[in-house]
């Protein structure tokens, strides 16, 4: 099975406190720790496990800049056979539809049985997979938390729905699936593995090479644009305890007891 996994490099929210920049038009990006978008990493692991069972190849692709090569190499160190960087100044400012349009052009350059994305990026809208599927007229399933290959024509997939329940579906290939975290246990990638792929050339594709009309992508074509960023104020906010740890512990116990907790 030929599998394409669309990945992204994003600021890692478990490693960063996200703050606004001084202009308020973006987050402060200096000194942010970036990593592979977490659901995308699960998607690559799932692709590798499918290929291990039924044969085939895993291609990872990202739409981005040169700095995004590092996540492609990371996923290649995990075992992806190929990485591709889709890069062009004309892509800048694309909205979800623009990114999906770029990916569609790339998909049509190759031959893939299955296309995976992560369910959502930290700064994204859980949209690229569904849009790409609609542009390609492929079937789509979101929030996928298990995949079973039935035969060369179809898969059995489960979707995560409310309350921890699962919705089972049969889906025809080729299709697009957006992968939910927890579907598998992504393998560990060590420095050694990353070094081994450090010099593997990563091909690039531009808008012209993909035959993308520049009027359909980028900022000019975007129907959706960020205006500004601000710090949310939901509710009144917690009363922050500023005491010593011991004082805070005593206060917590007092509060828990007062609210009927400790009996």
């Amino acid at each position: 099975m030929e599998i394409l996994v669309c990945v992204r490099r994003v600021p890692d929210t478990s490693e960063n406190e996200i703050a606004l920049n001084s202009a308020g038009n973006d987050i402060e990006r200096d000194e942010l720790v970036y990593s592979i978008n977490e659901p995308d990493n699960y998607a690559v692991e799932e692709a590798l496990q499918i290929v291990a069972k039924v044969g085939g190849n895993v291609m990872v692709a990202t739409v981005g800049g040169e700095e995004d090569e590092e996540v492609l190499r990371r996923e290649m160190a995990m075992g992806a056979n190929h990485g591709v960087l889709i890069i062009d100044e004309a892509f800048s400012g694309s909205d979800g539809r623009g990114i999906a349009t770029i990916l569609k052009a790339f998909v049509q350059k190759g031959h893939y049985d299955l296309i995976l994305t992560g369910v959502q990026a930290e700064d994204g809208g859980a949209q690229i997979g569904g849009m790409l599927a609609a542009l390609l007229d492929y079937p789509f399933a979101s929030l996928v938390n298990s995949i079973e290959v039935l035969d060369s024509q179809k898969l059995k997939v489960s979707r995560e729905i409310e309350g921890g329940n699962k919705e089972l579906n049969e889906i025809d290939l080729p299709c697009v699936l957006s992968i939910q975290t927890g579907i598998n246990e992504p393998r560990y990638v060590g420095m050694r593995g990353i070094r081994q792929v450090a010099s593997v050339p990563i091909p690039t594709f531009s808008a012209a090479e993909l035959g993308i009309a520049v009027s359909t992508i980028g900022e000019a074509a975007a129907k959706v644009k960020h205006v500004d960023y601000f710090v949310p104020s939901l509710g009144k906010g917690a009363e922050i305890l500023h005491g010593s740890r011991e004082e805070n512990i005593n206060k917590v116990l007092e509060l828990v007891a007062a609210k009927g907790g400790l009996k």
């Binding site: 979101s142 919705e167 907790g261």
Partner: protein
């Protein structure tokens, strides 16, 4: 202003609660709008659901088709494409079905798409400014969306306060005849109900709930010890289950359990809305997190900025001390 529609999910003949939140969102976009509900389905359940909207929607479009008995997003999308006027604004609840349906619908309608909308900040002739959150709720953003060729928006559950459900009934318009036959490359098979776990976290007054801040599997014991000392249970947020540190049955949130404790100790939990959606009954919420910007501090009653790996063991010792004194 373009016509505004709300796609209404329903089950067993009753419209989802989100129907009334979507009605509020429609009115926030355009106070003068005549919100139109669209329901797809089949049989008596669909007819019953159409009549559970009160006067919230003056007009209710019904699409009955046997293949829509279970909501398959691809089939629903194809049905909606047939009946929706071009340039429509379509609102859908941001839950698993909306995530399945909405992005592809926006492509087929050639309209703008914004997901997980929290608020409408302003509306002009051919543009709308909406509020979203990014980075797990650490920052919010205003997004401008060109509505000149319509828009599909998914609306975060709970973000809009339901309008009062006035007595009355919308005019039901049967659109089934415009749809024709529907086929899809994805076929629904069945629902597999979640397994019950070893501990029923819904039965406890106090929950010691752990998140990513617990850092590794061996550290879960720290929370278990505290819970045991307090007579509480340990629950968790999604990353803990994803990492296989605890069973799915311990997860609180929209894709896990809904809990109603008296006290909720959120330990190393950032406070994503999907997690908060599982906490009901307004428990006393105490948050301990080393990131002072963690969104959990916006909704907690009391917050402590500290490392749970140090704080929790000391808290456990103190609880044990108290208990020993009490039993002597």
């Amino acid at each position: 202003m373009a016509r505004i529609f709300a796609y209404i999910a329903h089950k067993s003949g009753i419209a989802a609660d989100s129907a009334f939140e979507l009605a509020a969102a429609v009115r926030k976009i355009d106070a003068a709008a005549t919100p139109t509900a669209i329901l797809t389905g089949w049989g008596a359940d669909l007819d019953a659901a159409c009549n559970t909207l009160g006067a919230s929607y003056p007009e209710v479009w019904k699409i009955a088709n046997e293949v829509l008995a279970y909501p398959n997003a691809e089939l629903v999308r194809k049905a909606l494409q047939k009946v929706l006027p071009s340039n429509s604004i379509v609102l859908i609840a941001h839950e698993h079905f909306g995530i399945d349906l909405a992005p592809g619908l926006s492509i087929k309608m050639n309209s703008a798409f914004v997901s997980d909308v929290l608020d409408i900040a302003g509306v002009e002739a051919a543009a709308m400014k909406v509020v979203r959150q990014e980075f797990g709720g650490q920052v919010s953003t205003h997004v401008r969306c060109d509505t000149s060729s319509g828009a599909v928006l998914t609306i975060r559950p709970g973000a809009f306060k339901s309008t009062e459900i006035a007595a009355g009934r919308g005019h039901v318009v049967d659109k089934s005849g415009e749809v024709g036959s529907l086929t899809a490359g994805r076929r629904y098979l069945e629902i597999v109900v979640a397994e019950a776990g070893d501990v029923d976290i819904t039965k406890y007054n106090v929950l010691v709930s752990i998140g990513r801040g617990i850092q590794e599997k061996d550290n879960v014991a720290i929370a278990l010890e505290l819970a045991e000392a307090m007579g509480a249970a340990v629950s968790c947020s999604r990353p803990v289950v994803d990492a296989k540190w605890m069973e799915k049955s311990r997860q609180v949130g929209s894709s896990g359990k809904t809990v109603k404790p008296k006290v909720y100790l959120a330990c190393g939990i950032s406070g994503a809305f999907q997690h908060l959606a599982g906490i009901k009954g307004s428990p006393y919420l105490i948050a301990i997190n080393k990131n002072p910007k963690a969104p959990i501090f916006q909704v907690a009653d009391v917050g402590i900025v500290d490392d749970i790996l140090e704080f929790l063991p000391e808290l456990t010792n103190k609880v044990r001390e108290m208990r020993n004194v009490a039993t002597k």
